[in-house]
């Protein structure tokens, strides 16, 4: 279980999280929704220990990771895997080397077995026989799927997705959504997804949490979020320009 307890995080004068409290239950897929720049990615990076909170606790399986040194943190991070928004594939390596990278670094598998695991994980995401290609030769959807294959190869307890459907066409988005749901059912991992794609959020989530002005305003099942009476949540899920959320539109010139 991952818990955020009254977490604050600011970058200079930009106060991104202002007392954020959130629980991720074991085995669920929790989706964090919110407008652009509300701190969804920051929340995820805090969970992973890539950023440190200014105050508050981030507890993973009973251990406060915000107070850990690098060595202790790297032990906890072995339970995590992260699918980056742009894939973050290593462009100097082939697809096969990318998927094998984490396995080779961990050194838990005999080198002879790694090729087999890479093939198997690429097959899980529907991409057989592309081990020798470079990331620059792949489409956006394929990159995301390779990134997912690289993450699940590590057999993590927690799998994090940063906007998995952003920048993809609706059909490819649905392919990725189905993949996330399938993986969750097969591997029984705990998933945390951040997105502003509501179709995706409804399809893949056990629960949805809405982040607004640095705090969680509602956390509930997809159906309850869809029918929420909270005006902030209602405006966001219906995608209306009218409501309490006022987007800042700056005019230049």
């Amino acid at each position: 279980m991952i818990s955020f307890e009254n977490v604050f995080k600011a970058f200079g004068s930009n106060h991104v999280l202002r007392g954020c409290t959130l629980d991720v239950q074991d085995g669920e897929t929790l989706t964090v929704i919110g407008g652009s720049g509300t701190g969804k990615s920051v929340t995820l990076k805090l969970m992973l220990g890539l950023l440190k909170p200014d105050s508050g606790k981030i507890v993973v399986d009973g251990q406060d990771i915000s107070a850990m040194n690098e060595d202790e943190l790297s032990q906890v991070q072995k339970n995590f895997s992260y699918v980056f928004q742009g894939g973050a594939l290593f462009d100097s390596m082939t697809v096969g080397e990318n998927v094998a990278f984490g396995l080779r670094q961990l050194g838990q598998h005999p080198p002879g077995d790694i090729d087999g695991i890479v093939k198997e994980k690429l097959a899980v995401v529907g991409l057989q026989g592309i081990e020798a290609l470079k990331p620059s030769e792949l489409s956006g959807g394929m990159r995301k799927r390779v990134a997912i294959a690289r993450s699940i190869a590590m057999s993590p307890k927690y799998l994090f997705y940063d906007e998995p459907t952003t920048g993809l066409d609706p059909i490819m988005s649905d392919v990725i959504n189905n993949l996330i749901v399938d993986l969750h059912q097969k591997l029984k991992q705990t998933g945390v997804v951040i997105t502003h794609d509501m179709r995706s959020a409804y399809k893949i989530s056990s629960r949805i949490a809405m982040l607004y002005q640095g705090q969680i305003v509602q956390i509930d099942t997809p159906d309850n979020i869809k029918n929420s009476t909270n005006p902030i949540v209602q405006q966001f899920v219906t995608g209306s320009a009218q409501g309490p959320i006022q987007m800042q539109i700056k005019a230049y010139g």
Binding site: Q77, S81, Y82, F84, Q85, G86, A88, F90, Q105, M154
Partner: protein, 270 residues
């Protein structure tokens, strides 16, 4: 009067803000460089030989042509200028071998090699690591159980520490050959005279030059890795990081050259 007082205090406030801000960011940068150096030295033993070898090829072997060409012509021009200047003063081109040899061994060899390598290798390191940073590949390393300093900085550090002194020795040798060509064929100095003068250069002078090149290598690789790891803001950020890595490395090499020379001379080396 009151307005004046407010105006002065506002000016002072702005001045302090600017100076203070610059000082804080400078102190932060120095602190981060020290941490990066400490981490690099800490992970030194864990480097993979294959990665180090790849970097030695990319940094050292591929820098051979440019270093050779630069030092050859530097040796040639040094012999030419020394020969003509001494001919004006002493009516004959004396001490050409001594001047060319000592200048190259103690100063020009290490400094020129470091400047050329800073331009070639420093830029490559900063651009590669900077691109990895802005495309989240550095964060991806963390999430795949790999420390980026251990995986990226350490092999580059070891490769630079090995290849830059070797390139320096090669540059000195090539420069001396360049000087010899001009001394013999342009200034009509007997080859034995030039060679005997070169032979008089002792191990202390050589140690002076090579020791400095090791420090220059460390400066180039640490500055370039730091600039790459702290790069922000897309393609523009990578460009800025690359430029500043090269400029800072070159300036630091030249500044540290003086202090290192002074320290080494005070210890009787060179």
């Amino acid at each position: 009067m009151a307005d004046d007082a407010i105006a002065v205090s506002r000016f002072e406030q702005r001045l302090l803000t600017i100076l203070g801000g610059t000082l804080i960011s400078l102190a932060e940068a120095v602190g981060k460089v020290v941490i990066l150096t400490r981490q690099t030295l800490y992970w030194l033993k864990s480097a993979e030989r294959r990665d180090v070898f790849e970097q030695i090829v990319a940094m050292g072997v591929d820098s051979v042509p440019v270093t050779t060409l630069t030092s050859l012509f530097t040796g040639m021009v040094l012999a030419l200028q020394t020969g003509f200047s001494f001919r004006k003063v002493f009516n004959e081109p004396i001490y050409v071998g001594t001047v060319v040899g000592l200048s190259l061994v103690k100063e020009l060899g290490p400094v020129l090699t470091a400047v050329v390598v800073a331009g070639r290798v420093g830029a490559a390191i900063a651009a590669e690591l900077g691109t990895m940073k802005v495309t989240e590949q550095i964060d991806a390393l963390y999430t795949l159980g790999t420390n980026p300093v251990k995986y990226l900085a350490v092999p580059r550090f070891i490769a630079c520490i090995i290849s830059i002194p070797l390139l320096t020795v090669m540059a000195i040798f090539t420069g001396i050959i360049g000087g010899l060509i001009i001394a013999v064929y342009r200034l009509s100095i007997p080859m034995t005279v030039y060679v005997n003068e070169i032979k008089e250069i002792g191990w202390k002078e050589c140690a002076h030059g090579v020791t400095k090149s090791v420090f220059f290598a460390a400066i180039i690789v640490i500055v370039s890795c730091y600039k790459g790891f702290t790069c922000e803001g897309g393609a523009e950020g990578v460009g800025k990081a690359t430029t500043s890595a090269v400029v800072i490395s070159m300036v630091m090499v030249l500044v540290f050259d003086y202090f290192l020379s002074a320290i080494l001379v005070s210890f009787g080396i060179g």
